[in-house]
């Protein structure tokens, strides 16, 4: 049996243990907005240097305003070592009007950085509502 010696006991110890437990819980968080494409590569979401392991969950992107003849590309990059470069993971292209309008793109856990971008490659500029969920 392992004996753990502590300098405190009773209520103080319970409080500390509870505080440690709560602090270790990830918080499911969200950000988002509306981005107007302009033909350049535009940032949707970047977590450039997380303080530790965290869990990006999902990108939601609304294509309601995308018209026929328009194409956008969503690119996903991850950094998988401290100080390393971003590496391209995936690229998803959406052409013309979309049905259903709302697309959900799953994201994987990460420790050193994640980047999501949007680029209009053909057609008209438009407004795209988006949100990103992550547990941190």
């Amino acid at each position: 049996m392992k004996i753990v010696k502590t300098a405190y006991s009773g209520y103080a110890r319970i409080r500390t243990l509870l505080a440690n437990l709560v602090s270790s819980m990830l918080t499911l968080t969200e950000t988002g907005g509306t981005i107007t494409t302009d033909g350049t590569v535009q940032m949707l979401f970047v977590h450039d240097a997380p303080a530790g392991v965290y869990s990006p969950k999902m990108l939601s992107l609304d294509f309601t305003n995308q018209s026929a003849g328009t194409t956008v590309k969503i690119d996903l990059f991850y950094r998988i070592k401290s100080g390393g470069d971003y590496r391209h993971v995936d690229s998803v292209t959406f052409a013309d009007g979309q049905s259903p309008d709302l697309k959900l793109i799953s994201l994987a856990d990460n420790r050193f950085g994640v980047s999501l971008s949007i680029e209009k490659t053909a057609g008209a500029n438009a407004d795209y509502d988006f949100e990103v969920f992550y547990a941190i």
């Binding site: 918080t27 970047v46 450039d48």
Partner: protein, 242 residues
Amino acid sequence: MIGYDNIPENENILLDLPFYEGGKIVTRDQAKPHHDGVNFQDPGGGSFSFAAEASGLTVPEFVTVGGGGTDGVYLDLDDALCADLDFTAGDYSLGVWVNWAVGATSSSIVMGRYVLNNNGWELYLTDYGGNLSLTLRHHHSGGFSERTGNFSLGWAHNVWTLIGVSRSGADAAHFRNGAVVPTTGSFEDPETCSQDLVIGCRYTKNADWFKGKMWRPRIWNEALTAIDWFNIFDKERDLFGV
């Protein structure tokens, strides 16, 4: 896992900028209103530098080189996108972690949405003859005075500190690292404001530069309690070794 909005301190949060983007121009708001378009601005003289603390948390440093019109850097948000931060009446709170360096000017604006002696609110640090203070000020085009507000003493340079203010009625409680500190002064309601939100500089965006590091400016439309401020500090202090 716990939901962000279920954390008691986040229930009435309007703006929350954790600066996850590193050196990008835009930074995202993780509070529910999604204030879209908070931008890092560099007029030319200063710069932003991003580096990790010992905890691994990356924070921006406002590298201010002097007190001139382009010597600093700041963040702003267009006034049309932050009408909800126009606190003409009622309670609100402001919070932010700072590591305040010695600058070239006595006043360092932490954040504000105001026009001097006319309308709005501002939060600033002052280094005046070695007296380091924090002031929350309201501006007035009418009323008894052009400015009302209160200040607290005992702030410090070059140490990470959680600033908190909770405005309620004629008073605003100041909190340093989750603990209340004495204040002097009182408030009238500020006149309505249609100015950009600024973080790190004067409303004119050419003076009173903040110099040092900053993390997670937050704004609430309620007066956070002493317990709220203690909880925020207690959860985040290890990120800064305080």
